[in-house]
Chain length 301, copies 2
């Protein structure tokens, strides 16, 4: 194992702190969202305020801090927007015609709790609200426009949704490593990449810094998904807060299924190293980002 | 009937021309959308390129022209974004768990043609792409940010989606005129209002002009929905390109059901007058907008 940049205990404390900041940003943004239909708001809040790890949101905050030394107010709004898009994607992916999941983040999925129509609309509203938040809360219009462009590209038809389409098409097709990389890059890693870049934009990063953060986010995102695949094989539903073993049941292609468990762990390790290397031009303020890549990897050991 | 500002024939020609500009903007934007998953793109294009009237898109172009005398390049992108959001809303509203419609714009609905999962994802991708288009194509970041804010507010949980939630809740509940106005204002009129305001922003409108265009768009949007309710009672499925008589079948609350057919026609007439009054400070370049309100109304006579 590589060296520790900060202790795991300290990291856990920092992640809890960042998650707290993301959660209060989300609650505040939703509260300010005037005129929203009350039934809809209940469904949105149910999924948005469920106990998520907020890793993507934390990454926005920490990348901002790594660049400029503090968490700018815009970074909190951007972290909220990223978590809104992530949550909408879970709500829609869980639907009966997609992954058909009953449990998510330790509670019934949105459509189980509110019905399918409301879950579709709550997902739509969360996605729309993410862009509204960026347009309204980011006072520098240049930054707002860039953030919206980055988030839309990462989450849209050439990003997260492309990954989801390939994931559905890949079920039972026995696709190989190439398809697996396409799915994971698009479905998961591009949103991590976007989170890192958005944090950088909020901190006023240079072009070179943005490029480094892009490499970092992509490596962490891919590593996260490999670790997630490994966990789905080895952890219980209770530990995951969602149905375990579903990938195999649905015959989804995963790293352990395609390259085996040992090779999957080696790939996750390599990606953690790559993530850390991407941050070589950053000082100690980026140690929490370095440790994040180690912690995400160690989930699967 | 009120006076004609331009002849109906000339208006039809202008609308066809505007629809052509919107269609070519949509085709061009989708073509440029690199990296999009090919199956997904097919489903998006299927719904986006179906023969819609493009009234919302035309309104963006014409409001821009009414303000500055020409259709700025940004207005075409904005018109495309508005039609993308409108199309996504149709794709999702037609889903089995929502309105469960089989036909739309004279062809099978997206989920009938591509399956439910793909229709959900194609809708999501169209919505996301609308915001990407505004962030990427509008070179003036201040304008881009304003356009995104206006579109997101109109189409989100305090706008179009709120109307859809109320519409579902209102079925069989026998809600009165107040609920009907809430549904139509949110579900339909706010998107017309947004289209008018967005056209104004693209043309560099003053605050007063934006305010006038807001009033115009809202009145036309409400009138359009009243006319649509009347048509659903009186026209055939073939004329509509979608299932006729569905409102009554689903016991949706509509203007004819709540206030009767004659009163519905009177309301539509009043709204056309109100729309025209809103444009009193505009010169002859706004005549096509004035005529639009008359033409939309006359659909229901």
């Amino acid at each position: 194992m590589t060296e520790q940049y900060i202790s795991s205990d300290e990291f856990k404390g920092l992640l809890a702190g960042a998650a707290g900041q993301v959660n209060s940003a989300l609650a505040c943004l939703l509260e300010k969202h005037a005129g929203i239909h009350s039934d809809l708001k209940r469904a949105m809040a149910y999924s948005l305020e469920a106990p998520g790890k907020r890793i993507r949101g934390a990454m926005v905050l920490w990348c901002c801090e790594a660049v400029c030394g503090e968490i700018m107010p815009g970074a909190k709004a951007a972290a909220g927007a990223v978590e809104m898009v992530h949550t909408y994607s879970l709500v829609h992916d869980d639907l009966p015609s997609l992954d058909d999941d009953d449990m998510r983040r330790g509670q019934p999925t949105c459509h189980k709790a509110f019905g399918e129509a409301m879950a579709i609309l709550a997902g739509d509203a969360l996605l729309t609200f993410a862009f509204e938040v960026l347009a309204v809360e980011i006072s520098d219009a240049e930054a707002a426009s860039k953030l919206i462009s980055v988030l839309a590209k990462a989450s849209g038809g050439a990003g997260m949704i492309a990954g989801q389409v390939a994931d559905i098409a890949g079920e039972k097709s026995g696709g190989g490593l190439e398809m697996l990389e396409y799915i994971h890059t698009n479905k998961t890693a591009k949103m991590f990449e976007a989170a890192a870049v958005m944090g950088g934009i909020c901190g006023g990063a240079s072009k070179e810094q943005i490029s480094d953060l892009r490499g970092y986010g992509m490596a962490v995102g891919l590593g996260f998904q490999v670790a997630d695949d490994i966990l789905d094989v080895s952890a219980s539903s209770e530990e995951l807060g969602k149905t375990a073993g579903k990938d195999a049941m649905q015959e989804k292609i995963t790293y352990p299924a395609v390259v085996g468990l040992d090779e999957s762990k080696r790939i996750a390790n390599d990606l953690a190293d790559k993530a850390i290397e991407s941050l070589s031009s950053f000082d100690g303020k980026a140690d929490v980002l370095r440790q994040l890549s180690i912690e995400l990897l160690s989930r699967s050991r």
